[in-house]
Symmetry: C2
């Protein structure tokens, strides 16, 4: 089963936005076992849109459109598909009611052009839009399947998940074996080192397949297989997973696609432990990362950003003689990192205190090189740990890697605590 | 002049990475006055790649490839283009030297497959790769222009900028007028309200063109025109810019593509003023946003994140009776926002103190709705200002909008100070 994704919109061709819909749909189709052979982007132009549909129909079984179904005269996706399929369009009653209700609820008069958002192609299945106004379409003709989705991701994703995916399972994948995947997520290890450790497995892979990729200081491995059921898939995936686990146990923090801060917030909530944070070169990024997770308020009570030495002294009681003067280790040092972590742990009356101090660049500081970062982990009733990092990359990368690294050390401590708890 | 961008790589079709190269190249080509009519993505497959090249040659004058020029047998872009153009490939001497030197410098033996990275098509211009190993190609044939670039953005962008763009100016755009654009950046106003205020201009636009778009709580307008020189362009753009300025002066914070925090750091550095930050629901995002800007250490000394009420009392001296008890306004209130801003300004001995407290969701808090946020701005020797915001969106969006809104209010104050200073 071969698929093509056609994104419609001049804003893509002008480079004003990135085509994140193509990435999302490609991933979703891959997980259904449908191979995407082409992605295309075409502007809001009737002739070129029809041409793109004809090309796609000649080389794909499934064609998925996103965009070009809004209210304006520029929104031509349904018109073009109707023209190519030689079918008329009509207003779908339920979709029209949905549009009417929207304007009525807001007490705003509906302008005539909004009727276009309720158009469907004759003989198609309307796909309701739960987060927007324009109705989607799904239609099969001559062994080809066409699915029309909105452009805005917040409308497109729910429509794909709730409407298009069930339609595909029912009409398209009648006898194909779906692909099942498992995500293994790693922290505290770079992509190339991880690949080296798995090189023999990656080179010999056939079924299951093993695909590593890296993103924002986390490495993901997706292992996939085709199977008739989830149970069969899991048993086929298990041997590969166990082999990978045995080699990288100390870095594997999740078996689903979640960031490490999510796992940390869940573990700490479970354990009833808390954390406070003191940051220098990361400027709040570590706290911001933790607090993106809903429910983080239970484990994180607060923290302090001290960019200047004066603030390090005032808010974190870092001794002046550590920071400045002849022979002082300076703000970017093991010693300062330790004081920051211990002090912020006490201020927050928390079980763990994290600190980061370093040189994120672009300029060096205290005659220390860009990328030199110290992270420390203070633990209630235990000795404080401190790590010296030598990070590569630009300012943003160094900041993200610093935050992710201390989160990795915290996760290791939480895991130790978990295994001690289960032994007790 | 019509262009098509072909990105080559199975990782794009699997949805493992987003096609950011297409966005970059589309923007660059638009700024050169070349219209991108199609973007395509195709996998590492000889047959499908040749097919994509043939289709592109039939509908575009300029075809730009990214990806598929590395050392492995999967890297087929040059082979496919050579096959379609019926020209042989050969090893380029300079490119081969570059590859040899790379391995020699690292003391690593070069494997034979790396020779593929020095391949060029007969009769093409080799495009040196300053940040990687694979050489690019540019070739014109039968009124068509083909440019082959690497896939990794850190190799592709410099090669486009330093090699491909000059080649395009010399060989492709021999008599076209280039497009000149100016970006106007706005804060403190939504895209739809901004569009409403400019609707007559947008609808009547011909030359210059006016294109608004929104991203992360900032709205950008690009005004563009074709001209023979920058001077001519600027004079053509000026009337439109002045008209837009006259309608939206209080929101226009820059005439180049920079975020508002960059403008703020620059203005404060210039004025010699400083800022401290106290955050609750944004969890460090505001500080993190300010400190992404290199040089922010001059104006930002530090700040405090107080997620819990206990920390608000302890670190920011918010009175207990404001936070809890019968009839207390609570943590999410004008009163608390004001104390947070004033206290953090004093703690940091700064000219400005910013605070944010609100409900970012997904759950409500203190029986207050998701999206209710208070931001306050304490100013040395002036009265503190506080604003009640009702923000829409999910947790991430509400956090970003809160931070960008208080930055907008700070920018307004800095602008007032600037104009007072210049009058003095």
């Amino acid at each position: 089963m071969k698929a093509e994704i056609i994104a419609v919109g001049t804003e893509l061709l002008l480079g004003q936005i990135v085509n994140s819909n193509a990435k999302y749909l490609s991933q979703e189709l891959a997980s259904l076992g449908i191979d995407v052979y082409f992605q295309s982007v075409v502007g809001d132009n009737m002739g070129r849109l029809c041409e793109a549909i004809q090309i796609a129909s000649g080389r794909a079984d499934v064609v998925i459109f996103t965009g070009g179904i809004g209210p304006t005269q520029d929104d031509l996706t349904k018109d073009a598909l109707a023209a190519v399929l030689k079918r008329p369009l009509h207003i779908d009653r339920m979709a029209m009611d949905h549009v009417d209700r929207f304007f009525k609820d807001r007490g705003v008069p509906m302008t005539e052009n909004n009727r276009r958002q309720a158009l469907v192609i004759d003989g198609s299945t309307p796909l309701p839009n739960e987060t927007g106004l324009a109705v989607g379409n799904a239609i099969s003709e001559d062994g080809h399947f066409y699915i029309v989705l909105p452009g805005p991701p917040k409308e497109m994703k729910p429509m794909f998940e709730l409407q298009a995916k069930p339609w595909i399972l029912q009409h398209v994948l009648t006898d194909e074996m779906p692909i099942y995947s498992k995500m293994l997520k790693f922290a505290g290890i770079g992509e190339s080192l991880l690949e080296t450790k798995l090189l023999d497995l990656i080179e010999a892979q056939s079924d299951p397949t093993i695909a590593p990729y890296a993103k924002e200081s986390e490495v993901t491995i997706r292992i996939s297989t085709k199977a008739n059921s989830e149970l069969e898939a899991m048993s086929k995936l298990e041997g590969t997973e166990q082999e990978i686990r045995s080699r990288l146990a100390e870095h594997l923090y999740a078996t689903e696609d979640v960031p490490i801060e999510k796992v940390i917030v869940d573990m700490m909530t479970e354990q009833g432990t808390t954390v406070s944070v003191a940051e220098s070169c990361t400027g709040g990024l570590l706290m911001e990362t933790i607090t993106t997770i809903p429910g983080s308020a239970t484990v994180f009570s607060g923290g302090i950003v001290t960019y200047s030495n004066a603030m390090k002294e005032k808010l974190l009681n870092v001794p002046h003689k550590l920071l400045e003067g002849e022979g002082a280790p300076g703000a970017v040092s093991e010693e300062t990192a330790i004081v920051m972590a211990e002090q912020v742990r006490m201020i927050g009356d928390a079980d763990y205190g994290l600190s980061i101090t370093g040189v994120a660049g672009p300029a060096y500081s205290e005659r220390k090189p860009v990328g030199l970062v110290y992270v420390a982990l203070a633990i209630r009733d235990q000795e404080t740990e401190v790590y010296e990092l030598h990070l590569k990359g630009n300012r943003d990368t160094i900041r993200v890697r610093s935050a992710k690294t201390i989160l990795y050390y915290l996760w290791r401590k939480l895991k130790q605590r978990e295994s001690l708890g289960s032994q007790a």
